[in-house]
Every structure is written in structure tokens, then in C-alpha cells.
């Protein structure tokens, strides 16, 4: 394909279509609306369907219903809408229905500043719904990566039967960059394969890889899906001998595949004692600060997390062992820094935070390298 100047939000929509998404349900909200606009225009060209629902709760419900009916599905929103979706995100997690939720973060809380950027939903993406549950969150740092990680989000959601949050932000969503997209026909997404006949099918049974294959409704495999605690055929149960193995499988399935799920970019220098760790739009700041520091003769490691949840503990721990100091710039009051501190200890972590809608500047990061 030709090189095009494109917005992050447009790249997300095209990434979804490239990944085989054929159903989008959403509700307009700044700064994510362009995703819906592009989907409403492009999806029908691929035989896909778009609907503007009455609110974000309904949007989240509709995409789960769409995937139950067999269509790969997505919605996009921002902070306030993301909050409204939380109950049904938990439903998708516990019923193991694949779906992709794009959160183009804006400054909060509440209505906040709709046109200002933020990375304030890091913890909401992990713990926004009630109860313990598995979740994957990916954070792109460029327009091309917004496309690539949207494709990954669909692949992961299908592969592990889980909702995946594409945790981007106003800066990546509205930024325009020249990109060359790959030929959509070269993109492969995990497909569920069911070997057993309908009468033996158990949608929630344990398997070697902890991810039982999913069959859509209306294919002759009649079964029950519920948000209640359920057994391996989906029937509500209160028996601990049925609940415990199922809860264990659901909550451990991502851990089991952690090496495939964790995506990071490591740019390390021999002998460096300082590191910058970042993600999303702040990774652009981090990258620039490291470039400047290196041009001044400093040795600095740069770790960019593309997978935020599950948290890349192994990689962060290894970085912590290499250096004396890890600087974590982010556009909130230090949300991901909590996780970094948990893994490598508070003494080594330096937070560089800003939660007023303005980006953390490279200068703010460079200053903390000094003392």
C-alpha cells in the first residue's frame, strides 16, 4: 500500500478491519469519535456492520452479543464511556468472549478536559470492573503501532478468549504520521478450532492451554453463557469443586502464556546505570530525552512497554537489576509507577508525572537524570 498521512484513530479502525473485525458498536465521545466515523464508512465495504448505540453500556453489550453471534467485534471510547463499560467488560472476561475495547484516554476524572490528553486510565484498564479477572491492555506509541497493536489486540482476544483493551491516548489518537500499511490479506488472526461434536462440546472446560475453543451461537452447539459463576458447560453453580478449577483456569490462563503476551522494546547500552521506562504517548518523551542524554555522552537504558497488562514483571525486574535508577514519565500522578515500584522497589523509581493535559517534556526527564 501507498504511504499515507494518517491519524492514530484512523489507523486503529483500519487495523481492526485488517484483523477481520466485522462489527462495531459505539457511542460518540471525544477524543475517540474518529474511530467510529471511519468504521461507519469502511466496515460496510467489507460486509461488516456498524451501529451507534444509545450509550456506552449498550455498546459494550452489543459487541459481546456480536461476537457470540460469530463476528469479531470492537468498540472505542474515552474515560467516561470506559467507566460505563466496566461492568460488561467484566462480563466478557468471565464468560471468555473475545472483544476489543479501545480507550483513547482523555484528562479526567469526570468530564475533565475532553480534548486534553492523559494516561489516567491505566489502573481502570486493569481493575475497573469488580472482582478478580484476566485482562490484556496494549499501548501504542505511534500511528503505525496503533494499527499493529490493534491487529495484535484481536489476535490476543481470540487466542486467549479475553477482552483486550487498546489503551491509547488523545495524543496518539489525534497525531498524524506518514504510514505504509501492510496488505490486509497478509494478516492472520487466531481461529478457534473445535474438534468435538455438539453433544460433547463444553465451552468452559479446561484444556492443555487453558483456553477452550469457542463456537458461536447458531452453529448447532447449543449451550449456556452466564455472568454467574458457572461450571464447564456454562450452568450456574455454587459447588466449590466446580467453581474452583474454573476460576483458577480463567485467572491463570494469561500467566500461562505471558511470554507471548508481553511485548516490550528494549534499547539498552552496556554499563548504563540509569533507565527510562515508559509507554504510550509518554514513551515519545522518553525516547527524545534518551536521545538527547546519549548525545551528551550519557549511558541510558530505554524500556518501552507495549503490553501494560499483564504487567511485564520479568522484563522490568531485569532492568531494575541492571541500573540504579528508573525514571518513569507518565501523564497521570504515577499509576504505572506503582507497578514498577512493586517489582523493583521504591528506592530506585523516580516518578515524573503530569496530570494537567500537557505532555511530560523531555526536559523534565533529563533533569531527573542529573540528581
Amino acid at each position: 500500500m501507498a504511504i499515507r498521512l494518517m491519524q492514530g484513530n484512523e489507523a486503529i479502525a483500519l487495523g481492526a478491519i485488517a484483523a477481520g473485525c466485522r462489527f462495531y458498536a459505539g457511542y460518540p465521545i471525544t477524543p475517540s469519535t474518529e474511530v467510529a466515523e471511519v468504521m461507519s464508512r469502511e466496515l460496510p465495504k467489507y460486509g461488516g456492520k456498524f451501529i451507534q448505540m444509545e450509550d456506552e453500556i449498550a455498546s459494550m453489550a452489543a459487541i459481546i452479543g456480536g461476537r457470540v453471534g460469530g463476528l469479531k467485534s470492537m468498540t472505542a471510547t474515552s474515560g467516561p464511556g470506559f467507566s460505563l463499560m466496566q461492568e460488561n467488560i467484566g462480563y466478557a472476561a468471565i464468560t471468555e468472549i473475545p472483544c476489543v475495547v479501545v480507550d483513547v484516554q482523555r484528562l479526567g476524572p469526570s468530564t475533565g478536559q475532553p480534548t486534553a490528553a492523559s494516561q489516567g486510565d491505566v489502573m481502570q484498564a486493569r481493575w475497573g470492573t469488580h472482582g478478580d479477572h484476566p485482562i490484556i491492555a496494549l499501548a501504542p506509541i505511534s500511528v503505525r503501532q496503533a494499527f499493529d497493536l490493534t491487529v495484535k489486540a484481536f489476535d490476543f482476544s481470540e487466542r486467549y478468549r479475553t477482552p483486550v483493551i487498546l489503551l491509547t491516548d488523545e495524543i496518539i489518537g489525534h497525531m498524524r504520521e506518514p504510514v505504509e500499511l501492510p496488505d490486509f490479506s497478509t494478516i492472520k488472526i487466531y481461529e478457534h478450532e473445535v474438534k468435538e461434536p455438539p453433544e460433547e462440546y463444553k465451552a468452559f472446560r479446561n484444556t492443555e492451554d487453558s483456553v477452550p475453543p469457542l463456537v458461536p451461537f447458531g452453529k448447532g452447539y447449543r449451550y449456556h453463557i452466564t455472568g454467574l459463576l458457572h461450571d464447564e458447560i456454562g450452568f450456574p453453580t455454587q459447588r466449590l469443586d466446580e467453581i474452583d478449577p474454573w476460576l483458577k483456569r480463567v485467572n491463570e490462563k494469561l500467566e500461562k502464556h505471558i511470554d507471548e503476551i508481553v511485548l516490550v522494546e528494549e534499547d539498552y547500552q552496556d554499563g548504563a546505570r540509569i533507565a527510562v521506562l515508559s509507554y504510550g504517548c509518554s514513551a515519545r518523551t522518553a525516547r527524545h530525552a534518551v536521545k538527547v542524554a546519549r548525545s551528551q555522552g550519557k549511558k541510558v537504558n530505554l524500556l518501552t512497554l507495549l503490553t501494560i497488562w499483564p504487567f511485564p514483571e520479568k522484563q522490568v525486574e531485569a532492568l531494575g537489576e541492571k541500573v540504579d535508577r528508573v525514571i518513569v514519565p507518565e501523564m497521570n500522578l504515577g499509576q504505572l509507577a506503582y507497578e514498577v515500584e512493586r517489582v523493583i522497589g521504591r528506592k530506585k523509581v523516580i516518578r515524573v508525572t503530569r496530570a494537567n493535559g500537557e505532555m511530560v517534556t523531555p526536559q523534565m526527564v533529563l533533569e531527573r537524570m542529573e540528581g
Partner: protein
């Protein structure tokens, strides 16, 4: 079985105790129930929900639909537990959201019959927004709303259909909020088939449900039921049988209602049973999307 129950059913002792050996197999209704797990239901003895479930199964059966082609979607509450017992594609979702989930499913599979099963609180309080918008779109979903005027599962709180003055655990001095007329709301919002009956009139429910499921657009059947465990107890309305009888005594068929004078209609307090609205002129949503958008846009 105690004598007075046998007497009420005019059954001989032996008849009640020994069912025919093929009692399960010979019932077409029972064949549509799930056989792989766990009965009895969670419903209280005497609840009207069993009647509604039977009516729904008979309606689907009457239309000759294959179990594979039917999806039942429910929210939360006593009524919403219905799908788990039935041998179709069944989706038990979050409180109030059955119609939103059903909307996604219907768009993905326009060929399937999608039925959303809700109580009055589920459909009209927490789910009221989805109810009016599903009707506005005229999407091909049948909304079966079982109206028992109370939140039963949580123990008897007032709902959007509790009559003024009635007592609930959260309305100890009597309810001061006027109830939603479910069918009139559905008609105003754009539903293209709207009917109401009661759990006393089981065969009428069969018929209305069959017609509703056959309707291409958004259809609503209000099945008026009762909750003797909470609403009946709090308001001293007697046993389940008493409340069932009250549905017979306090309802009127639409054709009889239509013959009343305007003055008589104005003071009528009985539940009007019948097909209240039907419209074959409005196009169903998924068909509209197919015709207006998918066939017009040039595919890539």
C-alpha cells in the same frame, strides 16, 4: 400428596403418584427443556414464571423453529433465569442489558430468532433506555416482559410497574411513583407488534408469543404475572392461587374493552388483554441496514 391438593385437581390417589412411564418423552414442551442438568428451577412454588416458560416453548414449537435457530437472551432477575432451563442458544447477561446484547447478536445473525426475556425492573428501570431504542430501531427481537409489579429476586422492592399506594420493602408507606404502562410505552417508541396477556390465560400467551416471534420487527409481549412471595405477602393479596384468580377476575379481553363506552373505558381498572398494536409497514432494522447500506456500498 395431601388430600386437599388431590381434591382440588379431582385426582385419584394412584393417578397422582404414578405418572405414565413415558411422561417426559411424550411432552413436546418438556423436550425443549435442558436435560443435562439441575432441576427444579430457582422459582418459588406457585410462581407464574413456569407458565410463561411453557407458553414460550409451545409458541416456538408451534412455529416449527429449530432449537439451533433460536437464541434466548436475558438480563438479571427471577424472570431472567428462564433461558438456562431451555434447550436453545442461551445468553444470560448483566442487569438491564439483555436487549443491548440481543441487538449485537441479531446484527451478527439476522437469520436467527432472538428473544429477550426480562422482568419489569430489568426491562423498564435499569434497561429502560435499551427498551425504547430497540423499539425505535424496530430491530427483529421479541421482548418478553414478565410483569409482576415488584423486584422479586432481591426481596420485594418497588419497581417501575408497582401501582401507586402499594407497599414494597422500599415503599413501606405506600408507593408514590406512577407505574409505566409497558405496552403503551413500546407502541409510542416504535414497536411493531405489542400484545398483553396474563399467566392465567396461558393459551392466549402461547398465541401472542408465536405471533410476536413471527413478526419481523421489534415485538413486545407483556405477560402479567404475580409475586405471591413478596408483593402478595406485603399487600395481603393471598396465596399464589388467589393471585392467579385475581388475574382472571381483573382482566378484560381487548374486544370486550373496545365495546365499552368511552366513559366506561375511562374508569376501567382491569388489565386489557389482546393484540394492542401491529404494524407491517415499517422495515426491520437489519433488513434496512442490508438494503440501504450493505447493498449500496461497493465492496472492496
Amino acid at each position: 400428596m395431601t388430600d386437599h391438593i388431590l381434591e382440588a385437581h379431582t385426582l385419584e390417589q394412584d393417578e397422582a403418584l404414578i405418572p405414565p412411564s413415558n411422561w417426559f418423552e411424550r411432552s413436546e414442551t418438556l423436550q425443549k427443556l435442558r436435560k443435562n442438568k439441575k432441576f427444579p428451577t430457582i422459582w418459588c412454588a406457585g410462581c407464574g414464571l413456569g407458565v410463561v416458560m411453557g407458553a414460550l416453548i409451545r409458541a416456538i414449537d408451534h412455529l416449527g423453529l429449530k432449537n439451533d435457530d433460536v437464541a434466548l437472551v436475558a438480563g438479571i432477575g427471577c424472570t431472567a433465569r428462564m433461558p438456562v432451563y431451555m434447550d436453545f442458544n442461551t445468553l444470560h447477561t448483566t442487569h438491564g442489558r439483555a436487549l443491548a446484547f440481543a441487538t449485537g447478536l441479531k446484527i451478527a445473525r439476522p437469520d436467527m430468532k432472538v428473544i429477550a426475556i426480562m422482568g419489569d425492573g430489568d426491562a423498564l428501570a435499569i434497561g429502560g433506555n435499551h427498551f425504547i431504542h430497540a423499539a425505535r430501531r424496530n430491530i427483529g427481537i421479541t421482548a418478553l416482559v414478565v410483569n409482576n409489579s415488584i423486584y422479586g429476586m432481591t426481596g420485594g422492592q418497588y419497581s417501575p410497574t408497582t401501582p401507586v399506594g402499594k407497599v414494597a420493602t422500599t415503599a413501606p408507606y405506600g408507593n408514590v411513583e406512577p407505574p409505566f404502562p409497558i405496552c403503551e410505552l413500546a407502541i409510542a417508541a416504535g414497536a411493531t407488534y405489542v400484545a398483553r396477556s396474563t399467566v392465567y390465560h396461558a393459551l392466549e400467551l402461547d398465541k401472542f408469543l408465536a405471533e410476536a416471534i413471527a413478526q419481523e420487527g421489534f415485538s413486545v409481549v407483556e405477560a402479567v404475572s404475580y409475586c405471591h412471595t413478596t408483593y402478595g405477602r406485603l399487600n395481603r393479596l393471598g396465596t399464589a392461587a388467589d393471585m392467579m384468580r385475581a388475574l382472571k377476575d381483573n382482566s378484560i379481553a381487548k374486544n370486550a374493552y373496545d365495546k365499552l363506552s368511552p366513559d366506561e373505558q375511562k374508569v376501567n381498572t382491569k388489565i386489557v388483554r389482546g393484540i394492542l398494536h401491529q404494524d407491517h409497514t415499517r422495515m426491520e432494522y437489519t433488513r434496512m441496514y442490508e438494503q440501504q447500506i450493505l447493498t449500496r456500498v461497493q465492496s472492496v
